[in-house]
Symmetry: C2
Amino acid sequence: MQSYYLQKADENLPVLHTTVIRPEAEPRPLTNGDTMVVDLGNHYVGYLSFHVSHPHWYNDAPLRMELRFCETARELEDDYNDYHGSLSRSWLQDELINVDSPGVYKMSRRYAARYILIKVLYTSQPVALSEFTFEAVSSADMTALKPYDTTDEELAAIDRVAVHTLRNCMQRVFEDGPKRDRRLWIGDLRLEALANYYTFGDVSLVKRCLYLFAAADKNPYGLMPGYIYENPIFVSGYWHILDYGFMFVNTLCDLYSHTGDAETFRDMCDVAKRILDSAEANKDEHGIVDNTCGDWFIDWCPGLHKRTAFEGIYLYTLERWSRTLEALGYPEAAEYRARLEAGRAASRKYLYDAEKKAFINARDEYQYSVHAAAWMVLGGVVEGEEAKEVLLKVMNDGESVKPFTPYMHHYAVDALFCAGARAEAEQHLRHIWGGMVKDGADTFFEAYVPTDPDFSSYGDRKMNSNCHAWSCTATYFIRKYGLGQD
Amino acid sequence: MQSYYLQKADENLPVLHTTVIRPEAEPRPLTNGDTMVVDLGNHYVGYLSFHVSHPHWYNDAPLRMELRFCETARELEDDYNDYHGSLSRSWLQDELINVDSPGVYKMSRRYAARYILIKVLYTSQPVALSEFTFEAVSSADMTALKPYDTTDEELAAIDRVAVHTLRNCMQRVFEDGPKRDRRLWIGDLRLEALANYYTFGDVSLVKRCLYLFAAADKNPYGLMPGYIYENPIFVSGYWHILDYGFMFVNTLCDLYSHTGDAETFRDMCDVAKRILDSAEANKDEHGIVDNTCGDWFIDWCPGLHKRTAFEGIYLYTLERWSRTLEALGYPEAAEYRARLEAGRAASRKYLYDAEKKAFINARDEYQYSVHAAAWMVLGGVVEGEEAKEVLLKVMNDGESVKPFTPYMHHYAVDALFCAGARAEAEQHLRHIWGGMVKDGADTFFEAYVPTDPDFSSYGDRKMNSNCHAWSCTATYFIRKYGLGQD
């Protein structure tokens, strides 16, 4: 099947659209040690070229320069020699180049940047850098972008930044982040696909990404890796994440519910089924799914206890899966519906404290988290007013564990809408995504902790990806629920 | 005329021949901080590519590496951060690259190197570098190389290294040095052209370079710049050197004497004439040429007094020029012959101490130099046994000023041959060029001071060009005079 899936992925390879950005730059000649900053005016993903000339005399020696590509203004001030994060320093977007001759110099790598900091290290003659040209690339077709009109300036700004985030992450696949890791992750894919249905509507790219995961090597439990590389060659990643496996199932169900494309669903139905069946086979004595067939992600929140949240994701997925099978007339739909009901009952019994209106983490040390509550609500373990009470209580609790990523904030907002707390959902959306806009975001960040702007999941804020796919979904909520349309 | 000269230069643009070098390299996987050295087996000029792979797992992050291209082994140990020379640090051949994906990586710049030092700065997975390929380029046609056979191992080695030096400097023009400055200088051109007549016999490349200088902007005295750039655009250099102007004249005369090509001579005859006439118009009260119309080079020897040597170059040039005009029936030949005789008489009267058999530097503080003596001999101011005595005395004097470059050593050897001191000429050739071979030269150096291997004209040996055009002429003497054929 792998070659079939890869062929289907290839059939859906998108065209990349190019937008040429021509930033103005100060024409002051530079000499050894001089710096300049080129501001693209917005965050873009693409390729830089510029013209090198020597206004006084022809350059006698190569021109040696450092270039740093910054997603945000604060990166201009960061000390890259003081990097101490857990991921490789090589993700930081800085280059050292030697230019032999005047003329147009084209840099071959792709960068994600708004600002470009240039430092002339050595030149034998003052050098003028001009005609900066940034060829921004994206597979998002701006002419296909659905309109969103509102008089609410904050929502308009949030929507605009969200759409721009999505656009910059839409390349040959839905990338997680065009600065880092520049690859296809399931968790990001699912949220990008959702935002995409309400904005660019590029169904083909969603199909391509699903087929790529269907083609990936599976672990003994049928779980695909959390991410894949597809360029220059197809390579399966190595981290098998069970909740991401479920997000593959959800993305497949979403595709059917948004497009009615039963053929694509059937193509990958068995892959999805295997993931769910493995989870079902790995339950503990109370009927709660264990993590023996893969890792769990949930959120980058440090020290998070994940068991309850994970069970919620399983139930949320089972619900969508059962509904899709029912719609398409699969006889096994009833079996999955039965598992869903059993799981909800077990969760209510073993993971819920009905008196305190709080979810606990079975087997783990007790931890009071938004994560657990949101996913239990999305999994249908509590509903209606009870769900709303559960959610608001934990979200407003000063001591509870809160999400660190817009990825988890998405599901918290989703849970609020699910519980009928529309006003609180919008309020939380404004708090998180509006907060980033107030902090000057051109695109939404990988991690956002309002009380700790330096938070990084990798031990150094310089490593953060500040245009990150999983943070684009504000536009999904705004457009789906018609926020700002009152 | 400029467009005509440039057109003629273009007509003689050479084809570059490629030789693919595939050095063996240790396949040990490298991780952060690891280094490896690739030895090309000889000095070459060209383009590097290599294959990047990750034997354990697909690279999770870009691979960041430093590469240093070294002409000699000692550059491997040099500290590039401690550069303190007078020319731009950017000439040192080191790069920092970021490689996004496994596969073949091609570096776009041209390098001159035997050794490549590679240091892995950051990689998320051990990396294997393999399939190193160096595409060596030269316009020298190895199938056209005239044979030289000898049983004298030292001369065979000197000739081989000299030919290889010439080959590596023969590119789109006769470059001075493929590491630095990578352009066309007249002084180098003249010596390369001479060596070329006895080896590759590429007349077209000599014509091309002469036409390029004929096209260059002249100073008010008709003097062309000492060097030009021709790629990517034609640009005249800015340093007008009078002895290099004379070398243009000599190169034009050499072309006629080696090929009988009167048409090319006539094309540029007026350019040459203007240079000589300007010198004649700038004589002092004794009839010795002054330096009011351009700088003088002669040699990189620090503190050298140049007046007498320079007058010798003028007379040497006048002699060759008069002879060529006579052969081609130019009526003005007699006028130049008369200038030559007058100059010789003036030099003998004002620049020579016949008793001491020594040349002095009029107007300068007295300085006893090989430079003055060699050029006065080549200028025909003294001849035969007297010339031999003058030369050997100054060359063997422990206190006399000696040449620092093989460029000046060439003319010292030439003067010895001119004075009939064949054995001493060969001995000096073995001392200088054989000395470099004994020091491990793959190609001959820009500067060579046997007692000071760290000598640099630029204040730091790292800046020296160790494959330098003007040092290739050992093969000219060996082949012209049949050394090692006894």
